[in-house]
């Protein structure tokens, strides 16, 4: 009897804690959205910021965030998947592999501020990239690479052994087996993992303060030549992302409506991350259904 009472109490506590976590998130999201949504408008999303007058927007910052994300992903995905394949399929179980695995783990838990400082030293100053999108993308690659490696490994591990062995038995080379049999099966997992990682890139600020810079040059959205300094597509121009912009106007904003802009920008950021999460779930489920023919 007593054991049953204890059981009931414990279950109650656990359910209570779970409810608390949901409430916490609801509260956080509510706080951000309630304060920010009022400020959102098409104009706010598209117009450039104003350093000291009211009515500045976040247009270039939003574009920078998205473009930086694309750049980062173009660099990260091939590298991460390649390294992940090596780790899961080619690496032999020896000291060297162990060491590499250690390296990946260390890299993944590196403080973002240290990565930012490294970017400042190596990319911005030493390689002469200056404060630029490219430097920012490479710094973010350092973060995302371990994640991609882990996701790819997980994806490849989920492939049924029979399928892999069947392909090898048919005389396919190992590489062919991996690229045409295993990768497509692992794709849903890799894809949803990638999108989740992308959401994290979107919110990163500490590493970008020192690499992508804190200002956005004049942008001409009719100029699409990536080599032109005023082109939004130029990867070697400095770019302030949304998260960095929030940091900046919270700290040095002179515009009278700086708190509202910060709140609005935070809401945009959170909504975007939310969309990323939903997209990842939907895409994962969709592809899983498509590839495995389960209902």
């Amino acid at each position: 009897m007593r054991a049953k009472t204890v059981d009931k109490i414990a279950t109650g506590v656990i359910i209570g804690v779970a409810a608390f976590i949901v409430l916490l998130l609801a509260g956080l999201l509510g706080f951000i959205l309630v304060r920010g949504l009022g400020h959102l408008s098409f104009d706010f999303l598209t117009s450039p910021p104003d350093s000291f007058r009211e009515g500045g927007g976040i247009g270039p910052q939003l574009f920078n965030s998205l473009f930086l994300l694309v750049l980062t992903m173009i660099i990260t995905i091939p590298l991460g998947i390649g390294a992940g394949i090596y780790m899961s399929e080619y690496a032999k179980a020896n000291k060297l592999t162990d060491f590499i695995r250690l390296v990946v783990e260390v890299l993944s838990s590196f403080p973002s501020i240290v990565v930012g400082l490294f970017g400042l030293l190596m990319l911005v100053n030493y390689f002469g990239l200056g404060f630029s999108l490219m430097a920012g993308a490479l710094a973010l690659t350092v973060f995302n690479l371990p994640l991609m490696v882990r996701i790819t490994e997980q994806g490849l591990k989920s492939v049924p052994r029979e399928q892999k062995e069947a392909a090898l038995a048919l005389g396919l080379t190992k590489w062919k087996t991996i690229s045409s049999i295993m990768l497509p099966i692992a794709l849903p997992i890799i894809l949803s993992g990638t999108i989740l990682a992308a959401g994290r890139v979107f919110g990163e600020a500490a590493a970008l303060l020192f690499t992508a810079g804190m200002s956005s040059p004049r942008l001409d959205f009719s100029e699409w030549n990536p080599l032109n300094p005023v082109s939004p597509l130029n990867p070697f121009r400095p770019a302030e992302t949304l998260a960095v912009h929030i940091w900046k106007i919270n700290s040095e904003g002179l515009a009278p409506d700086a708190p509202e802009i910060a709140a609005g920008a935070s809401a945009v950021l959170v909504i975007t991350v939310l969309l990323f999460n939903l997209l990842a779930r939907w895409l994962g489920r969709f592809m899983h259904r498509k590839f495995t023919a389960t209902k």
């Binding site: 049953k4 204890v6 059981d7 414990a10 279950t11 506590v13 656990i14 804690v17 779970a18 608390f20 949901v22 998130l25 956080l28 590298l79 998947i81 390649g82 390294a83 394949i85 090596y86 399929e89 080619y90 590499i100 390296v103 783990e105 260390v106 890299l107 838990s109 403080p111 973002s112 501020i113 240290v114 400082l117 490294f118 030293l121 190596m122 350092v142 690479l145 371990p146 490696v149 080379t173 590489w175 062919k176 991996i178 690229s179 989740l196 959401g199 994290r200 979107f202 919110g203 600020a205 500490a206 929030i246 919270n250 910060a262 935070s266 950021l269 959170v270 991350v273 939310l274 999460n277």
Partner: protein, 305 residues
């Protein structure tokens, strides 16, 4: 006859093709891994070479840096005692883990043992979303909500280790919950069923069987959480107060390694003693990352036994 020659040549071509294809794949993936390793070696090298300048060029005693209590790099004479920062980093991240650990364990038990369907469908996405909220936003909420609350309820100014730890605990909750969930899910079902068959209640099973067997994995989650909290910069800087002292209470202004770096890095000139000292702090952060990784590996080794 003609047919056989054709076949052999065909086979040779495909063989060569296969061979080339295999090597392209192998070389490509190896290059990727090499890139990964080069990056981290370069990073360790650069941070270390910068961080060690303090000792070689500015002749700061490493022991002074690690145990000194006074940090005034612009003073006369400059003092480089980073113990307050080290203390601040450890206390905030440990406290954050202490808050988050029971929460994450309960969330994991809820998702695996109590309501698997509901948990997987609602609780997990919710927790993943927590991971997606940018740290700048967490810091801002901390400054707007937690700090004023602490200021009203407790003596002091609201900023300090308690506020920092609370913000961090929310930020590390997803990491810890994910690890705990994986650990519980990986538990052989026979173990639990055996316990139930003996007439144990659910709580008895969780407390006596599940918890002890998964403890090393749960600890892994805790260490990973601490590691993440240790490296977080912007959110902590906004709520901790940033006074370079070991605080007398949880509600008194304190400072962490990361916040010391972000606060002064931009204001100091490369090559100055102050700047070098900040790199030394970065070096300490990096070494701590290695320590955390080793602890995690040791724990993982134990959980396999």
């Amino acid at each position: 006859m003609a047919q056989t020659t054709l076949k052999t040549s065909d086979k040779r071509i495909t063989g060569k093709h296969h061979f080339a294809e295999e090597w392209v794949g192998r070389i490509y993936t190896t290059l990727c891994v090499l890139f990964l390793v080069t990056t981290i070696v370069a990073m360790v090298y650069f941070v270390a070479s910068r961080g060690l300048t303090t000792f070689f060029k500015d002749h700061v005693n490493p022991l002074e840096l690690l145990t000194g209590l006074k940090w005034s790099p612009e003073g006369e004479p400059p003092m480089f005692g980073a113990l307050p920062f080290i203390f601040g980093s450890f206390s905030t991240s440990m406290l954050a883990a202490l808050i988050a650990a029971p929460l994450s364990f309960c969330a994991a038990v809820f998702m695996i043992e109590i309501m698997p369907k509901f948990g997987r469908k609602y609780l997990q996405p919710v927790i993943e979303l927590l991971a997606g909220i940018p740290s700048v936003v967490y810091g801002f909420i901390g400054l707007s909500v937690i700090v004023p609350f602490f200021r009203d309820v407790f003596p002091g100014q609201g900023v300090g280790i308690a506020a920092g730890a609370l913000v961090l605990s929310i930020m590390i909750l997803p990491t810890m919950t994910t690890v705990a969930t994986d650990a519980l899910a990986a538990l052989p079902s026979g173990l639990k069923e055996g316990s139930y068959a003996l007439g144990a209640t659910r709580w008895q099973t969780i407390y006596r069987v599940v918890l002890p067997t998964t403890l090393p994995s749960l600890m892994t989650g805790v260490v990973l959480g601490i590691a993440r909290a240790f490296g977080e910069a912007l959110a902590v800087q906004m709520v901790i107060g940033n006074a370079p002292f070991i605080p007398k209470s949880l509600f008194e202004s304190a400072q962490t390694l990361t916040s010391a770096i972000t606060l002064s890095m931009g204001n100091t000139v490369t090559g100055s003693a102050h700047n070098n000292a900040l790199w030394s702090l970065a070096l300490i952060l990096m070494l701590m990352t290695f320590v955390f990784v080793f602890i995690v590996r040791w724990l993982e080794g134990r959980s396999k036994l």
